[in-house]
Symmetry: C2
């Protein structure tokens, strides 16, 4: 079935496009009052993501309200540990937390990858509902957390400034770490394949905690598993967004994926130089720019576009939009991208 | 007065040394049981740093117990905002917080740089006491927060994952931001000069929140003020440690300071290539390595040393030592540096 606006898929495949496509990380979120209303109706973040009809609603909202060139599934990277047997809570203003964490071989052995598809039926139902209601206007992006980031939450039990418990496991017991990463990777591949089977047109891996490792540990404990996932997902374009992993940009340029997400700390020139000419790049406006005046938002957006260029490029912020941003500023960002005339000299 | 072991000063000046000098960020801290005892005696973190005799004790402890090649003043970067009129609390397990924050021109105008030396008399008394009790065995390092990091605390009121309020001020009201940074810079120069007058043999600027900016904002709102401080401090070697600011490594190579601190995300080769051949580099073992086995600590330390090389180099961790590290592992790190034989082929 033909997608009406498939700009983002073509940009991801490296094809020339009439204009640069744009979407925004966390576009389905608190920045929109319509999201906040649906979320209030659901009662909680987790009830919202477990309710296929409401999850579909908030997924489609930014397409209608902001005019983005792609929808991204409304879900959470932590559904995977939960589906493997490690339930989590999401407390307002406090972030996620796990009552049980992984500390030993026995803990890893107890995790199951068998029930992942059954346990995540609500996600696949949401995808089916989104595909039905989106009427192929724009592509739907599926996603999962990268194994290292999921590992951090499973070992640490919550967010952390230093993730010392997780990083100490890499030093103290690398075998145990690899065993857990292996299991997460297996579950993630099964999960993403089913997202695609249900209709996702592209998928993104979020490695939110990449930036607490160094080049050696990232290349040892994170990249090999990402590579394996990229290899397994060979039917739709894949994006890898490893926040803060500037140190492994060259290695990421070698991954069998189409697109690399670039955070706002990394300059377009640095990313292109190290990742090489083949990859499509995605990013990377500093989300704090949207606190500025309209003139500032426009000029910074245009400057970003000219630095990335019109080819092999998907515009986005360099991180999820902050919830207290005025959504009119976000809209202005999107419209500035969509109206931009590149100097083709 | 001649300092017995002046390795670190010579390394900072770029001179050849018999061996690589080493100290550790947060060496005067919770990793040592002796520190915890003195801290308990003081009652609280702030009572400890405001008590010159006890602050001197904990400053000297790591020289005796760990055998480091430098002492670093036990203090806190937040004494500067406090001395300018913005008091803060330090709550156990919660980090620092300010009751009042800077939001307007009027708030900035109320800050005073006049009383900084009077208000920080306890710091200078601590330095005098340390110099008396250290008997010139090793150099004493003074320090301050870099203006951008101090700005973050004064505007945000506490630590934050995104420092959105601070970064939004850069977009919304750059003039106000510059005015505050100007005032912090003036206070910091006066403060560091007095640390040196009291006997500090070198000084370090800590830009802990450098890594939340991008190259443009860092070069606009952070580096010019650091440069000004470097220029003003022309009597002792100066170190700039901008955590996470890999994107401005080239510009930092141009700063009028002797040494650049390197965090554990940045490889020695990357730092040397971008900073150029003149600077002394300081760092950068991943603090989480110290969770590993003795063999692992030794092999990773040796690998780090061989990558940095024996010249223009001061060994350290890439961040403050974590408080739950076994201090024997920290000692092993220090001894491994001090015993290392470089291959001079």
């Amino acid at each position: 079935m033909k997608i009406e606006n498939d700009l983002i898929l073509r940009a991801a495949r490296g094809e020339e496009t009439e204009r640069v496509p744009v979407w925004v990380m966390r576009q389905a979120g608190r920045v929109l009052s319509e999201y906040r209303a649906t979320r209030a109706q659901a009662g909680s973040f987790k009830s919202l993501l477990m309710n296929p009809q409401l999850a579909a609603e908030v997924t489609i909202q930014p397409v209608d309200i902001l005019g983005v060139d792609a929808a991204i599934l409304f879900s959470d990277i932590l559904v995977i540990p939960e589906a493997m047997g490690l339930p989590y809570r999401m407390d307002e203003g406090k972030g996620p937390s796990f009552e049980n964490t992984i500390q030993s071989q026995a803990d890893v052995d107890k995790l199951s990858t068998e029930q992942v598809l059954d346990n995540l039926k609500y996600v696949f139902d949401a995808i089916t509902t989104i595909k039905r209601d989106l009427h192929n206007r724009v592509p739907l992006i599926g996603f999962a957390g990268a194994p290292w980031t999921i590992f951090c939450y499973m070992v640490e039990g919550r967010g952390s400034k230093t993730f010392s418990i997780s990083r100490s496991m890499l030093s103290e017991n690398p075998e145990l770490a690899h065993r857990l990463l292996r299991k997460i990777t297996d579950a993630t591949i099964v999960y993403l394949k089913q997202q695609i089977a249900c209709g996702c047109n592209m998928v993104q891996l979020f490695d939110s905690w990449a930036g607490i490792l160094n080049k050696d540990t990232y290349n040892t404990f994170a990249l090999p598993y990402i590579e394996e996932i990229c290899q397994a997902i060979d039917t739709v374009p894949m994006t890898v967004f490893a926040k803060g992993a500037f140190f492994s940009m060259e290695e990421m340029g070698q991954l069998p994926c189409r697109t690399l997400g670039i955070d706002w700390h990394t300059s377009p020139e640095f990313a292109r130089r190290l990742a090489g000419p083949d990859k499509t790049l995605q990013g990377n406006l500093d989300p704090a720019v949207l606190y500025g005046s309209e003139e500032f938002v426009i000029s910074e957006t245009k400057r970003m576009l000219d630095r990335f260029g019109s080819h092999k490029y998907i515009a986005n912020l360099g991180h999820g939009v902050y919830p207290d941003i005025n959504h009119e500023k976000l809209k202005l960002f999107i419209q500035t991208v969509q109206a931009h005339q590149f100097n083709r000299s």
